[in-house]
């Protein structure tokens, strides 16, 4: 295994819109910048496979990033903080210790999964997950897909899959028609969002779309064959090849917590400059609040500018951020999870997929910690990233403190001493800040 070290004025973790905007803004301000991402390519989830697609917004940011001095480190995931101001990232060829003066965390969000009978059958997956797989080479031509869960992501995913030849059998949105209507009316104040909504409506014309509807079971012999949905007072069995099912998003706050940043109500706490409770650490995008790509880009720019000492320039973006944050608040209200979903899991339903822990064996415990100790729930390789949000919703359990490593790793990479960094600061960032 190789090991190495790099040192940056500004290190950005996460290569989605927020991270790319932060890296571009910091690099264009003269800072030496590193941007590290677990995925093989930059773009994050929303821009997956789009950075090389000319004419897209993703490619414009990518071009600016490539034109800057930013060092792109893809296929590397941050696993630990071996010392103050150093993060250890692991790739297939070994690990690298990344030292920084300022850190920007832009490591996004994941889908919320709510366990129901049959959710562990292959081809039942996240809505964003199926889209990601199709973008990474899985053909869906002629495949029957049910898209379910909640949030605007469902519509975007359905439209994308339809364009790739899938037959969208049904879209199930758990929210009520009235809460969707309120959401629909409230976004009329944003011209960009209306455009997106109208174009989606066209892309989705003729597809069955139910509100007040959610999956209650999935079935199949080794592979998904059908899903049973609840709609009003009725249940219906729908044959399909894929169930793309996600219940909105959960921010990734584990790394921020590991570094010591304050996290409140599931979000990383930041000030106007996207600065966390640790002065050298900034955070942008979904970890600070689920708000979508436009807000992520603005927050990323503010964080990148502030991290490279350009506070004045970053202040010019504050009003735009305030406007976009209102959209985030509406999203949360419009797609709040309905209480009926708390009854989705049956006693025999697996909640923790890593350790195969059932709902029945969890219910007798009163906290996440007790359940972990007694049942191994959340102790597998995903470290509770999937079952944690589910138990939070079903049982009101709060997540525990985060311990290193934040992703499973090999012992050799965890135990190695921190590497001594090379000096590679740019002139612009030398001297007192």
């Amino acid at each position: 295994m190789n090991s190495g070290q790099k040192e940056f004025d500004v290190l950005v973790v996460g290569g989605g819109p927020a991270g790319m905007a932060a890296a571009v803004s910091a690099a264009e301000s003269g800072a030496s910048v590193g941007i590290v991402d677990d995925n093989p390519q930059l773009g994050g989830q929303i821009w997956r496979g789009e950075v090389q697609n000319c004419e897209s917004e993703a490619s414009r940011w990518f071009e600016r990033l490539c034109a800057s001095n930013a060092n792109q480190l893809c296929g590397m995931r941050v696993i630990d903080q071996p010392g103050l101001g150093v993060l250890r990232a692991e790739g297939c060829k070994g690990f690298c210790d990344l030292s920084y003066r300022k850190l920007v965390l832009a490591n996004g969000a994941r889908e919320r999964f709510l366990p129901f009978p049959g959710w562990t059958i292959p081809n039942v997956m996240g809505a964003g997950a199926l889209q990601a797989l199709v973008k990474s080479g899985l053909p869906v031509q002629g495949k029957r897909v049910v898209v379910a869960g909640t949030g605007p992501l469902l519509l975007a995913v359905a439209a994308y899959l339809r364009k790739r030849g899938a037959e969208i059998v049904l879209i199930c949105e758990q929210a009520s028609r009235s809460s969707l209507a309120k959401f629909g009316l409230s976004i009329l104040s944003q011209r960009q969002k209306i455009g997106q909504a109208l174009s989606l409506r066209k892309d989705l014309s003729g597809i069955r779309f139910f509100t007040n509807c959610w999956p209650v079971a999935a079935g199949g012999d080794g592979i998904l064959q059908a899903v049973i949905i609840s709609h009003g007072n009725e249940v219906e069995k729908v044959a399909c090849d894929y169930l793309a099912c996600g219940f909105h998003l959960v921010p990734n706050t584990e790394l921020a917590a590991l570094v010591g940043c304050a996290v409140k109500d599931g979000y990383v706490v930041v000030d106007d400059f996207q600065q966390t409770s640790i002065p050298s650490v900034f955070c942008a995008g979904e970890p600070t609040g689920i708000g979508g790509v436009e807000l992520s880009l603005i927050e990323g720019q503010i964080a990148g500018l502030a991290a490279s000492g350009k506070n004045k320039a970053s202040q010019k973006l504050f009003s735009m951020r305030t406007r976009l944050q209102k959209f985030a608040t509406r999203l949360d209200r419009g797609f709040a999870l309905r209480p009926e979903l708390k009854k989705l899991a049956l006693p025999e339903t697996i909640i923790c997929r890593c350790e195969d822990v059932t709902y029945g064996s969890l219910k007798k415990y009163t906290s996440w910690r007790a359940a972990k100790l007694q049942t191994r729930c959340g102790m597998g390789p995903c470290q509770g990233r999937v079952c944690g949000p589910a138990t939070e919703f079903f049982l009101n359990w709060k997540p525990d403190s985060v311990r290193p490593p934040v992703f499973p790793t090999i012992l050799e990479n965890l135990a190695a001493m921190p590497c001594q960094p090379e000096q590679s600061h740019s002139g612009a960032m030398r001297g007192p800040q």
Partner: protein, 81 residues
Amino acid sequence: MPEQIAVTVNGRHVAVSSGTTVAAAVILAGAHCRTSISGEPRGPLCGMGICFECRVEIDGQRHQRSCQIVCSEGMQVSTSE
């Protein structure tokens, strides 16, 4: 046409276009990824490297997240079938 890449999944030849992830190749081969501790077949759940349900063995290295790794020519993938 994108360049074709040849990989094997459990000894079976699969041709995929360049840029395809191992997870997509495994589904194309009609295989599942891992077997859970109670014996259930599992496939990708999150598609973004978080859930670890898509773990497979790639060129002799176990526990690789197939959704985060792009296929390369001659790659040998084995799943727990």
